[in-house]
Protein backbone atom coordinates (compact mmCIF):
# COMPACT_ATOMS: atom_id res chain seq x y z
CA UNK A 1 0.00 0.00 0.00
CA UNK A 2 2.56 2.57 1.04
CA UNK A 3 4.92 1.41 -1.68
CA UNK A 4 2.23 2.07 -4.27
CA UNK A 5 1.41 5.48 -2.91
CA UNK A 6 5.06 6.35 -2.79
CA UNK A 7 5.32 5.43 -6.42
CA UNK A 8 2.49 7.67 -7.48
CA UNK A 9 3.53 10.67 -5.45
CA UNK A 10 7.28 10.52 -5.45
CA UNK A 11 8.21 9.10 -8.82
CA UNK A 12 5.96 11.58 -10.50
CA UNK A 13 8.05 13.51 -13.00
CA UNK A 14 5.48 16.28 -12.86
CA UNK A 15 6.63 17.11 -9.34
CA UNK A 16 10.28 16.78 -10.23
CA UNK A 17 9.72 19.24 -13.05
CA UNK A 18 7.99 21.74 -10.76
CA UNK A 19 10.63 21.58 -8.06
CA UNK A 20 13.79 21.23 -10.08
CA UNK A 21 13.19 22.76 -13.49
CA UNK A 22 13.16 26.50 -12.65
CA UNK A 23 16.41 26.10 -10.77
CA UNK A 24 17.98 23.82 -13.36
CA UNK A 25 17.14 26.15 -16.27
CA UNK A 26 18.70 29.08 -14.43
CA UNK A 27 21.70 26.93 -13.59
CA UNK A 28 22.15 25.90 -17.24
CA UNK A 29 21.84 29.41 -18.68
CA UNK A 30 23.54 31.53 -16.05
CA UNK A 31 26.13 29.20 -14.51
CA UNK A 32 27.01 26.21 -16.69
CA UNK A 33 26.77 27.98 -20.06
CA UNK A 34 29.00 30.91 -18.97
CA UNK A 35 31.58 28.49 -17.54
CA UNK A 36 31.78 26.68 -20.88
CA UNK A 37 31.60 29.93 -22.87
CA UNK A 38 34.48 31.30 -20.85
CA UNK A 39 36.54 28.30 -21.87
CA UNK A 40 35.59 28.79 -25.52
CA UNK A 41 36.32 32.51 -25.38
CA UNK A 42 39.82 31.86 -24.14
CA UNK A 43 40.73 30.62 -27.64
CA UNK A 44 39.42 33.71 -29.40
CA UNK A 45 40.27 37.31 -30.04
CA UNK A 46 37.36 39.73 -29.71
CA UNK A 47 36.92 43.41 -28.87
CA UNK A 48 33.10 43.19 -28.44
CA UNK A 49 32.52 45.10 -31.70
CA UNK A 50 34.31 43.34 -34.59
CA UNK A 51 34.30 39.70 -35.52
CA UNK A 52 35.29 36.89 -33.21
CA UNK A 53 38.51 35.26 -34.42
CA UNK A 54 39.75 31.86 -33.37
CA UNK A 55 43.37 32.21 -32.30
CA UNK A 56 44.11 28.83 -30.72
CA UNK A 57 46.37 28.97 -27.72
CA UNK A 58 47.63 32.48 -28.49
CA UNK A 59 45.93 34.03 -25.46
CA UNK A 60 47.58 31.52 -23.15
CA UNK A 61 50.95 32.06 -24.82
CA UNK A 62 50.52 35.83 -24.48
CA UNK A 63 49.80 35.42 -20.82
CA UNK A 64 52.90 33.32 -20.15
CA UNK A 65 55.16 35.88 -21.83
CA UNK A 66 53.30 38.82 -20.27
CA UNK A 67 55.44 40.20 -17.43
CA UNK A 68 52.42 42.12 -16.08
CA UNK A 69 50.55 38.85 -15.62
CA UNK A 70 53.37 37.40 -13.52
CA UNK A 71 53.53 40.56 -11.44
CA UNK A 72 49.78 40.44 -10.90
CA UNK A 73 49.92 36.76 -9.99
CA UNK A 74 52.68 37.44 -7.46
CA UNK A 75 50.71 40.36 -6.02
CA UNK A 76 47.71 38.07 -5.54
CA UNK A 77 49.87 35.57 -3.66
CA UNK A 78 51.52 38.37 -1.65
CA UNK A 79 48.09 39.70 -0.69
CA UNK A 80 46.90 36.22 0.32
CA UNK A 81 50.03 35.50 2.39
CA UNK A 82 49.66 38.87 4.07
CA UNK A 83 45.96 38.59 4.82
CA UNK A 84 45.17 34.98 5.66
CA UNK A 85 47.64 33.84 8.37
CA UNK A 86 47.60 37.13 10.27
CA UNK A 87 43.84 37.49 9.95
CA UNK A 88 43.30 33.97 11.27
CA UNK A 89 45.71 34.32 14.21
CA UNK A 90 44.20 37.61 15.37
CA UNK A 91 40.61 36.43 15.02
CA UNK A 92 41.38 33.18 16.83
CA UNK A 93 42.99 35.11 19.71
CA UNK A 94 39.99 37.42 19.94
CA UNK A 95 37.59 34.46 19.89
CA UNK A 96 39.49 32.73 22.72
CA UNK A 97 39.40 35.90 24.79
CA UNK A 98 35.72 36.49 24.12
CA UNK A 99 34.97 32.87 24.98
CA UNK A 100 36.09 33.48 28.58
CA UNK A 101 33.17 34.45 30.70
CA UNK A 102 33.49 38.20 30.62
CA UNK A 103 30.96 41.01 30.70
CA UNK A 104 29.84 42.74 27.55
CA UNK A 105 30.58 39.89 25.15
CA UNK A 106 27.62 40.92 23.00
CA UNK A 107 28.83 44.49 22.67
CA UNK A 108 32.36 43.45 21.71
CA UNK A 109 30.99 40.89 19.26
CA UNK A 110 28.81 43.54 17.62
CA UNK A 111 31.68 46.03 17.46
CA UNK A 112 34.02 43.55 15.77
CA UNK A 113 31.24 42.61 13.37
CA UNK A 114 30.54 46.19 12.20
CA UNK A 115 33.17 46.17 9.42
CA UNK A 116 31.91 42.80 8.18
CA UNK A 117 28.45 44.09 7.33
CA UNK A 118 29.75 47.35 5.85
CA UNK A 119 30.28 47.38 2.10
CA UNK A 120 33.89 47.00 1.02
CA UNK A 121 33.54 50.12 -1.11
CA UNK A 122 32.58 52.23 1.91
CA UNK A 123 35.30 50.68 4.08
CA UNK A 124 37.91 51.22 1.35
CA UNK A 125 36.97 54.89 1.04
CA UNK A 126 37.22 55.50 4.76
CA UNK A 127 40.62 53.82 4.92
CA UNK A 128 41.83 55.74 1.89
CA UNK A 129 41.25 58.87 3.94
CA UNK A 130 42.83 57.32 7.04
CA UNK A 131 45.95 56.58 4.97
CA UNK A 132 46.22 60.17 3.71
CA UNK A 133 49.92 60.98 4.32
CA UNK A 134 49.50 64.57 5.59
CA UNK A 135 46.06 64.75 7.17
CA UNK A 136 45.13 61.09 7.69
CA UNK A 137 44.39 59.57 11.05
CA UNK A 138 47.01 56.82 10.89
CA UNK A 139 50.04 59.00 10.32
CA UNK A 140 48.78 61.36 13.02
CA UNK A 141 48.62 58.49 15.53
CA UNK A 142 52.07 57.32 14.41
CA UNK A 143 53.41 60.87 14.90
CA UNK A 144 52.32 60.71 18.56
CA UNK A 145 54.90 57.92 18.92
CA UNK A 146 57.47 59.97 17.00
CA UNK A 147 57.15 57.82 13.90
CA UNK A 148 56.95 59.47 10.49
CA UNK A 149 54.43 57.39 8.57
CA UNK A 150 54.99 56.61 4.89
CA UNK A 151 52.77 57.95 2.11
CA UNK A 152 50.87 54.69 2.28
CA UNK A 153 48.81 54.32 -0.87
CA UNK A 154 51.18 56.15 -3.21
CA UNK A 155 54.25 54.16 -2.19
CA UNK A 156 55.10 51.00 -4.13
CA UNK A 157 56.39 49.46 -0.89
CA UNK A 158 53.51 50.38 1.42
CA UNK A 159 50.44 50.32 -0.81
CA UNK A 160 49.98 46.55 -0.61
CA UNK A 161 50.52 46.32 3.17
CA UNK A 162 47.98 49.16 3.51
CA UNK A 163 45.39 47.23 1.51
CA UNK A 164 46.20 44.09 3.52
CA UNK A 165 45.65 45.92 6.85
CA UNK A 166 42.28 47.17 5.63
CA UNK A 167 41.24 43.68 4.51
CA UNK A 168 42.27 42.10 7.80
CA UNK A 169 40.37 44.79 9.69
CA UNK A 170 37.28 44.15 7.60
CA UNK A 171 37.31 40.35 7.78
CA UNK A 172 38.32 39.89 11.42
CA UNK A 173 34.81 39.80 12.89
CA UNK A 174 33.58 37.15 10.48
CA UNK A 175 36.30 34.63 11.27
CA UNK A 176 36.11 35.49 14.96
CA UNK A 177 32.43 34.62 15.03
CA UNK A 178 33.07 31.26 13.34
CA UNK A 179 35.85 30.46 15.83
CA UNK A 180 33.65 31.54 18.72
CA UNK A 181 30.94 29.14 17.60
CA UNK A 182 33.55 26.38 17.29
CA UNK A 183 34.94 27.10 20.76
CA UNK A 184 31.51 27.04 22.35
CA UNK A 185 31.07 23.56 20.93
CA UNK A 186 33.99 22.22 23.02
CA UNK A 187 32.66 20.68 26.26
CA UNK A 188 34.03 22.28 29.41
CA UNK A 189 34.56 18.86 30.99
CA UNK A 190 37.63 18.31 28.76
CA UNK A 191 39.33 21.34 30.25
CA UNK A 192 38.32 20.36 33.78
CA UNK A 193 39.77 16.88 33.31
CA UNK A 194 42.99 18.38 31.93
CA UNK A 195 43.24 20.74 34.89
CA UNK A 196 42.98 17.85 37.31
CA UNK A 197 45.85 16.22 35.43
CA UNK A 198 47.81 19.43 35.95
CA UNK A 199 47.81 20.72 32.38
CA UNK A 200 48.91 24.33 31.85
CA UNK A 201 47.24 26.90 29.57
CA UNK A 202 49.48 26.07 26.60
CA UNK A 203 48.90 22.33 26.96
CA UNK A 204 45.17 22.90 27.14
CA UNK A 205 45.29 25.10 24.05
CA UNK A 206 47.44 22.82 21.91
CA UNK A 207 46.05 19.47 23.07
CA UNK A 208 42.34 20.31 23.42
CA UNK A 209 41.37 23.60 21.80
CA UNK A 210 43.29 23.33 18.53
CA UNK A 211 42.42 19.72 17.66
CA UNK A 212 38.75 20.15 18.51
CA UNK A 213 38.64 23.41 16.60
CA UNK A 214 40.20 21.87 13.50
CA UNK A 215 36.98 21.48 11.47
CA UNK A 216 36.23 25.19 11.93
CA UNK A 217 39.87 26.04 11.26
CA UNK A 218 39.75 24.00 8.05
CA UNK A 219 36.64 25.85 6.86
CA UNK A 220 38.03 29.28 7.78
CA UNK A 221 41.39 28.68 6.07
CA UNK A 222 39.85 27.49 2.81
CA UNK A 223 37.29 30.28 2.68
CA UNK A 224 39.90 32.94 3.54
CA UNK A 225 42.36 31.78 0.88
CA UNK A 226 39.69 31.53 -1.81
CA UNK A 227 38.32 34.96 -0.91
CA UNK A 228 41.80 36.49 -0.96
CA UNK A 229 42.47 35.14 -4.45
CA UNK A 230 39.37 37.00 -5.59
CA UNK A 231 40.05 40.39 -3.98
CA UNK A 232 38.96 43.33 -6.13
CA UNK A 233 36.75 46.01 -4.51
CA UNK A 234 39.25 47.51 -2.07
CA UNK A 235 42.03 47.49 -4.70
CA UNK A 236 39.84 49.21 -7.29
CA UNK A 237 38.77 51.92 -4.82
CA UNK A 238 41.95 52.48 -2.79
CA UNK A 239 44.75 52.24 -5.36
CA UNK A 240 43.29 51.33 -8.74
CA UNK A 241 46.04 48.71 -8.87
CA UNK A 242 48.82 51.28 -8.53
CA UNK A 243 51.25 52.73 -7.96
CA UNK A 244 53.14 51.12 -10.84
CA UNK A 245 50.92 47.99 -10.63
CA UNK A 246 52.23 47.25 -7.15
CA UNK A 247 48.72 46.36 -5.94
CA UNK A 248 47.19 45.03 -9.15
CA UNK A 249 45.80 41.51 -8.59
CA UNK A 250 44.35 38.81 -10.85
CA UNK A 251 40.72 39.95 -10.79
CA UNK A 252 41.78 43.56 -11.30
CA UNK A 253 43.84 42.58 -14.34
CA UNK A 254 40.96 40.48 -15.62
CA UNK A 255 38.61 43.46 -15.21
CA UNK A 256 41.04 45.75 -17.03
CA UNK A 257 41.52 43.33 -19.92
CA UNK A 258 37.80 42.82 -20.42
CA UNK A 259 36.28 46.20 -19.63
CA UNK A 260 39.08 48.73 -20.10
CA UNK A 261 41.15 47.23 -22.94
CA UNK A 262 38.17 45.28 -24.40
CA UNK A 263 40.21 42.12 -24.88
CA UNK A 264 37.47 39.62 -24.06
CA UNK A 265 39.51 36.63 -25.19
CA UNK A 266 42.52 37.66 -23.12
CA UNK A 267 40.43 37.98 -19.96
CA UNK A 268 39.31 34.35 -19.98
CA UNK A 269 42.71 32.68 -19.50
CA UNK A 270 43.24 34.95 -16.47
CA UNK A 271 39.91 33.73 -15.13
CA UNK A 272 41.09 30.17 -15.66
CA UNK A 273 44.32 30.81 -13.78
CA UNK A 274 42.17 32.02 -10.90
CA UNK A 275 40.01 28.92 -11.16
CA UNK A 276 43.11 26.73 -11.22
CA UNK A 277 44.45 28.36 -8.03
CA UNK A 278 41.14 27.87 -6.22
CA UNK A 279 40.99 24.28 -7.46
CA UNK A 280 44.50 23.49 -6.20
CA UNK A 281 43.80 24.98 -2.78
CA UNK A 282 40.58 23.02 -2.45
CA UNK A 283 42.31 19.81 -3.51
CA UNK A 284 45.33 20.22 -1.24
CA UNK A 285 43.14 21.11 1.70
CA UNK A 286 40.82 18.18 1.11
CA UNK A 287 43.78 15.80 1.09
CA UNK A 288 45.47 17.36 4.06
CA UNK A 289 42.29 17.64 6.06
CA UNK A 290 42.23 13.89 6.47
CA UNK A 291 45.56 14.15 8.28
CA UNK A 292 44.86 16.95 10.68
CA UNK A 293 41.15 17.51 11.00
CA UNK A 294 39.73 15.69 14.00
CA UNK A 295 36.01 15.06 13.64
Amino acid sequence: MTKKLEKIIYNNYFWVAIFLLPNFLGFLIFILLPVLASFGLSFTKWDLLGEINFVGLANYQNLISDSTFWKVLWNTIYYTLGTVPLGIIISLMLAIILNKKIKGVKIFRAVYFLPVISSTVAVAMVWQWIYNPQFGLLNYILSLFNITGPSWLTSTTWAMPAVIITSIWKGLGFNMLLFLAGLQGIPNTYYEAAEIDGAGSWAKFSKITLPLLSPTMFFVIIMSIINSFQVFDQIYIMTGGGPARSTSVLVHYLYQNAFEYFRMGQASPIAYVLFFLVFIVTLVQLRNSKKWVVY
Binding site: F19, W169, L178
Partner: protein, 274 residues
Protein backbone atom coordinates in the same frame (compact mmCIF):
# COMPACT_ATOMS: atom_id res chain seq x y z
CA UNK B 1 42.86 34.98 43.03
CA UNK B 2 45.12 37.96 42.36
CA UNK B 3 46.45 36.38 39.18
CA UNK B 4 42.90 35.92 37.99
CA UNK B 5 42.21 39.61 38.45
CA UNK B 6 45.36 40.53 36.54
CA UNK B 7 44.38 38.22 33.71
CA UNK B 8 40.91 39.78 33.55
CA UNK B 9 42.41 43.26 33.43
CA UNK B 10 44.73 42.33 30.58
CA UNK B 11 41.85 40.73 28.71
CA UNK B 12 39.75 43.87 29.02
CA UNK B 13 42.62 46.10 27.93
CA UNK B 14 43.20 43.95 24.82
CA UNK B 15 39.49 43.88 24.03
CA UNK B 16 39.06 47.61 24.46
CA UNK B 17 42.09 48.48 22.33
CA UNK B 18 40.84 46.05 19.70
CA UNK B 19 37.34 47.47 19.93
CA UNK B 20 38.66 51.02 19.53
CA UNK B 21 40.56 49.94 16.43
CA UNK B 22 37.30 48.65 15.04
CA UNK B 23 35.25 51.73 15.91
CA UNK B 24 37.78 54.51 15.31
CA UNK B 25 37.53 54.45 11.48
CA UNK B 26 33.75 54.83 11.78
CA UNK B 27 34.11 57.77 14.20
CA UNK B 28 36.73 59.31 11.93
CA UNK B 29 34.32 58.94 9.00
CA UNK B 30 31.48 60.58 10.94
CA UNK B 31 33.61 63.42 12.31
CA UNK B 32 35.12 64.20 8.89
CA UNK B 33 31.66 64.31 7.35
CA UNK B 34 30.69 67.11 9.76
CA UNK B 35 33.74 69.32 9.18
CA UNK B 36 34.51 72.10 6.76
CA UNK B 37 37.14 71.53 4.09
CA UNK B 38 39.54 73.94 5.82
CA UNK B 39 39.27 72.12 9.08
CA UNK B 40 39.95 68.76 7.48
CA UNK B 41 43.19 70.00 6.00
CA UNK B 42 44.63 71.27 9.26
CA UNK B 43 47.09 69.60 11.56
CA UNK B 44 46.72 68.07 14.13
CA UNK B 45 43.33 66.57 13.33
CA UNK B 46 40.48 66.96 15.80
CA UNK B 47 37.54 64.72 16.47
CA UNK B 48 35.06 67.58 16.27
CA UNK B 49 35.57 70.79 14.39
CA UNK B 50 34.75 74.28 15.62
CA UNK B 51 31.25 73.94 14.33
CA UNK B 52 29.17 71.16 12.85
CA UNK B 53 28.86 71.49 9.09
CA UNK B 54 25.70 69.83 7.76
CA UNK B 55 26.19 71.25 4.28
CA UNK B 56 28.31 68.25 3.24
CA UNK B 57 25.25 66.04 3.47
CA UNK B 58 23.17 68.48 1.43
CA UNK B 59 25.92 68.71 -1.15
CA UNK B 60 26.03 64.92 -1.52
CA UNK B 61 22.30 64.46 -1.88
CA UNK B 62 22.17 67.36 -4.32
CA UNK B 63 24.50 65.75 -6.83
CA UNK B 64 23.87 62.11 -6.06
CA UNK B 65 20.41 60.57 -5.62
CA UNK B 66 21.30 58.46 -2.60
CA UNK B 67 17.66 57.71 -1.83
CA UNK B 68 17.35 56.32 -5.35
CA UNK B 69 20.55 54.26 -4.86
CA UNK B 70 19.09 52.93 -1.63
CA UNK B 71 15.82 51.86 -3.25
CA UNK B 72 17.68 50.34 -6.21
CA UNK B 73 19.80 48.28 -3.83
CA UNK B 74 16.77 47.35 -1.76
CA UNK B 75 14.71 46.27 -4.76
CA UNK B 76 17.48 44.15 -6.26
CA UNK B 77 18.42 42.55 -2.93
CA UNK B 78 14.87 41.63 -1.96
CA UNK B 79 13.99 40.11 -5.33
CA UNK B 80 17.23 38.10 -5.47
CA UNK B 81 16.97 36.87 -1.88
CA UNK B 82 13.36 35.74 -2.20
CA UNK B 83 13.98 34.08 -5.56
CA UNK B 84 17.21 32.40 -4.50
CA UNK B 85 15.73 31.03 -1.29
CA UNK B 86 12.74 29.68 -3.19
CA UNK B 87 14.62 28.12 -6.14
CA UNK B 88 17.36 26.76 -3.86
CA UNK B 89 15.03 25.13 -1.37
CA UNK B 90 12.76 23.66 -4.05
CA UNK B 91 15.62 22.14 -6.03
CA UNK B 92 17.29 21.12 -2.78
CA UNK B 93 14.10 19.25 -1.90
CA UNK B 94 14.10 17.50 -5.28
CA UNK B 95 17.73 16.44 -4.81
CA UNK B 96 17.20 15.32 -1.23
CA UNK B 97 13.89 13.50 -1.52
CA UNK B 98 12.88 12.71 -5.11
CA UNK B 99 13.96 9.94 -7.45
CA UNK B 100 14.59 10.67 -11.10
CA UNK B 101 17.08 9.51 -13.73
CA UNK B 102 20.32 11.46 -13.96
CA UNK B 103 19.95 12.90 -10.46
CA UNK B 104 23.48 12.10 -9.38
CA UNK B 105 25.01 13.49 -12.57
CA UNK B 106 23.02 16.73 -12.35
CA UNK B 107 23.91 17.16 -8.70
CA UNK B 108 27.57 16.52 -9.48
CA UNK B 109 27.39 19.34 -12.05
CA UNK B 110 26.08 21.69 -9.35
CA UNK B 111 28.87 20.61 -7.02
CA UNK B 112 31.52 21.08 -9.70
CA UNK B 113 30.51 24.70 -10.30
CA UNK B 114 30.71 25.45 -6.58
CA UNK B 115 34.46 25.96 -6.73
CA UNK B 116 34.37 27.98 -9.96
CA UNK B 117 35.11 31.58 -8.96
CA UNK B 118 32.37 34.00 -9.90
CA UNK B 119 34.82 36.00 -12.00
CA UNK B 120 35.10 33.17 -14.53
CA UNK B 121 31.45 33.89 -15.34
CA UNK B 122 31.81 37.68 -15.51
CA UNK B 123 32.80 38.16 -19.16
CA UNK B 124 30.41 35.55 -20.65
CA UNK B 125 27.58 36.91 -18.50
CA UNK B 126 28.32 40.41 -19.73
CA UNK B 127 28.20 39.21 -23.35
CA UNK B 128 24.93 37.39 -22.66
CA UNK B 129 23.40 40.49 -21.07
CA UNK B 130 24.52 42.53 -24.04
CA UNK B 131 22.86 40.09 -26.46
CA UNK B 132 19.65 40.24 -24.42
CA UNK B 133 19.79 44.05 -24.33
CA UNK B 134 19.84 44.03 -20.53
CA UNK B 135 23.04 46.01 -19.99
CA UNK B 136 22.34 49.14 -17.95
CA UNK B 137 19.09 47.68 -16.62
CA UNK B 138 18.45 46.06 -13.25
CA UNK B 139 17.58 42.83 -15.03
CA UNK B 140 21.31 42.26 -15.56
CA UNK B 141 21.81 42.33 -11.78
CA UNK B 142 18.71 40.32 -10.92
CA UNK B 143 18.15 37.53 -13.45
CA UNK B 144 21.61 35.87 -13.42
CA UNK B 145 21.41 35.72 -9.61
CA UNK B 146 18.00 34.07 -9.33
CA UNK B 147 19.63 30.66 -8.98
CA UNK B 148 22.57 29.69 -6.78
CA UNK B 149 24.48 26.43 -6.83
CA UNK B 150 25.69 27.09 -3.30
CA UNK B 151 22.15 27.73 -2.04
CA UNK B 152 20.88 24.56 -3.69
CA UNK B 153 23.70 22.58 -2.10
CA UNK B 154 23.11 24.14 1.32
CA UNK B 155 19.38 23.40 1.29
CA UNK B 156 19.87 19.84 0.04
CA UNK B 157 22.34 19.15 2.85
CA UNK B 158 19.92 20.56 5.39
CA UNK B 159 16.93 18.61 4.06
CA UNK B 160 18.91 15.37 4.24
CA UNK B 161 19.09 15.79 8.04
CA UNK B 162 15.28 15.86 8.36
CA UNK B 163 14.13 12.37 9.42
CA UNK B 164 12.02 10.57 6.85
CA UNK B 165 9.53 9.39 9.45
CA UNK B 166 8.21 12.95 9.68
CA UNK B 167 6.95 12.97 6.13
CA UNK B 168 5.81 9.36 6.11
CA UNK B 169 2.56 10.09 7.90
CA UNK B 170 1.78 12.99 5.60
CA UNK B 171 2.57 10.81 2.63
CA UNK B 172 0.15 8.12 3.76
CA UNK B 173 -2.54 10.75 4.27
CA UNK B 174 -2.12 11.59 0.61
CA UNK B 175 -0.26 14.84 1.04
CA UNK B 176 1.44 15.90 -2.21
CA UNK B 177 5.15 16.75 -2.38
CA UNK B 178 3.99 20.34 -2.62
CA UNK B 179 2.24 20.08 0.73
CA UNK B 180 5.10 18.17 2.34
CA UNK B 181 7.57 20.81 1.16
CA UNK B 182 5.60 23.81 2.37
CA UNK B 183 4.08 22.35 5.53
CA UNK B 184 6.87 20.13 6.82
CA UNK B 185 10.23 20.92 5.23
CA UNK B 186 10.16 24.71 5.06
CA UNK B 187 8.96 25.26 8.65
CA UNK B 188 11.67 22.89 9.89
CA UNK B 189 14.38 24.66 7.89
CA UNK B 190 14.16 28.16 9.33
CA UNK B 191 17.82 28.24 10.45
CA UNK B 192 19.10 27.18 7.02
CA UNK B 193 16.73 29.58 5.29
CA UNK B 194 17.89 32.44 7.54
CA UNK B 195 21.55 31.64 6.82
CA UNK B 196 21.01 31.54 3.08
CA UNK B 197 18.95 34.76 3.15
CA UNK B 198 21.51 36.71 5.15
CA UNK B 199 24.44 35.56 3.04
CA UNK B 200 22.66 36.30 -0.20
CA UNK B 201 21.45 39.65 1.11
CA UNK B 202 24.90 40.76 2.25
CA UNK B 203 26.44 39.55 -0.99
CA UNK B 204 23.98 41.38 -3.24
CA UNK B 205 23.66 44.52 -1.11
CA UNK B 206 27.43 45.05 -1.01
CA UNK B 207 28.20 43.69 -4.49
CA UNK B 208 30.41 46.04 -6.44
CA UNK B 209 31.98 44.44 -9.51
CA UNK B 210 28.71 43.42 -11.16
CA UNK B 211 27.04 46.85 -10.92
CA UNK B 212 30.36 48.38 -12.00
CA UNK B 213 30.37 46.27 -15.16
CA UNK B 214 26.64 46.29 -15.96
CA UNK B 215 25.31 49.72 -14.91
CA UNK B 216 26.26 53.09 -16.41
CA UNK B 217 23.36 55.46 -15.70
CA UNK B 218 23.57 57.26 -12.35
CA UNK B 219 19.88 56.85 -11.52
CA UNK B 220 20.17 53.06 -11.86
CA UNK B 221 23.20 52.64 -9.61
CA UNK B 222 23.25 50.68 -6.36
CA UNK B 223 24.68 52.14 -3.13
CA UNK B 224 28.27 50.84 -3.48
CA UNK B 225 28.52 51.85 -7.13
CA UNK B 226 26.94 55.25 -6.46
CA UNK B 227 29.42 55.79 -3.66
CA UNK B 228 32.34 54.82 -5.89
CA UNK B 229 31.13 57.13 -8.65
CA UNK B 230 31.25 60.03 -6.15
CA UNK B 231 34.98 59.50 -5.91
CA UNK B 232 35.39 60.73 -9.48
CA UNK B 233 33.71 64.04 -8.77
CA UNK B 234 34.90 64.80 -5.25
CA UNK B 235 38.31 63.14 -5.36
CA UNK B 236 39.83 65.04 -2.41
CA UNK B 237 36.78 66.66 -0.88
CA UNK B 238 36.91 64.29 2.07
CA UNK B 239 34.04 65.83 4.09
CA UNK B 240 31.63 65.33 1.19
CA UNK B 241 32.97 61.85 0.40
CA UNK B 242 32.65 60.79 4.04
CA UNK B 243 29.11 62.21 4.20
CA UNK B 244 28.25 59.99 1.24
CA UNK B 245 29.87 57.01 2.96
CA UNK B 246 27.86 57.63 6.13
CA UNK B 247 24.62 57.79 4.14
CA UNK B 248 25.49 54.61 2.26
CA UNK B 249 26.30 52.68 5.45
CA UNK B 250 23.33 53.89 7.49
CA UNK B 251 20.68 51.43 6.21
CA UNK B 252 22.72 48.28 6.84
CA UNK B 253 23.98 49.53 10.21
CA UNK B 254 20.39 50.17 11.31
CA UNK B 255 19.37 46.73 10.02
CA UNK B 256 22.25 45.20 11.96
CA UNK B 257 21.26 47.05 15.14
CA UNK B 258 17.81 45.47 15.08
CA UNK B 259 18.63 42.06 13.65
CA UNK B 260 22.06 41.46 15.18
CA UNK B 261 21.11 38.04 16.52
CA UNK B 262 20.06 36.84 13.07
CA UNK B 263 23.31 38.01 11.50
CA UNK B 264 25.30 36.24 14.19
CA UNK B 265 23.27 33.04 13.97
CA UNK B 266 23.45 33.04 10.19
CA UNK B 267 27.24 33.20 10.14
CA UNK B 268 27.55 30.68 12.95
CA UNK B 269 25.40 28.12 11.13
CA UNK B 270 27.40 28.43 7.95
CA UNK B 271 30.55 27.48 9.84
CA UNK B 272 29.09 24.44 11.52
CA UNK B 273 28.73 22.52 8.31
CA UNK B 274 32.46 23.01 7.63
Amino acid sequence: MKENKLEKTIIYIVLIIGGLTMVLPFIWMLSTSLKSLNEVFSFPPTIFGDKIVWQNYLKVSDRFPFIKFFFNSLKISIIVVVAQVLTSSMAGFAFARMKFPGKDIIFALYLATLIVPFHVLLVPTFILMRELGWVDTHLSLIVPSLVSAFGTFLMRQFFLTIPESLEEAARIDGCTPFGIFFRIFLPLSKPALATLSIFTYMGIWNDFIRPLVFINTTSKMTLPLGLASMQGLYSTNWPVLMAGTVISLLPILIAFLFAQEYFVKGVTLSGLKG
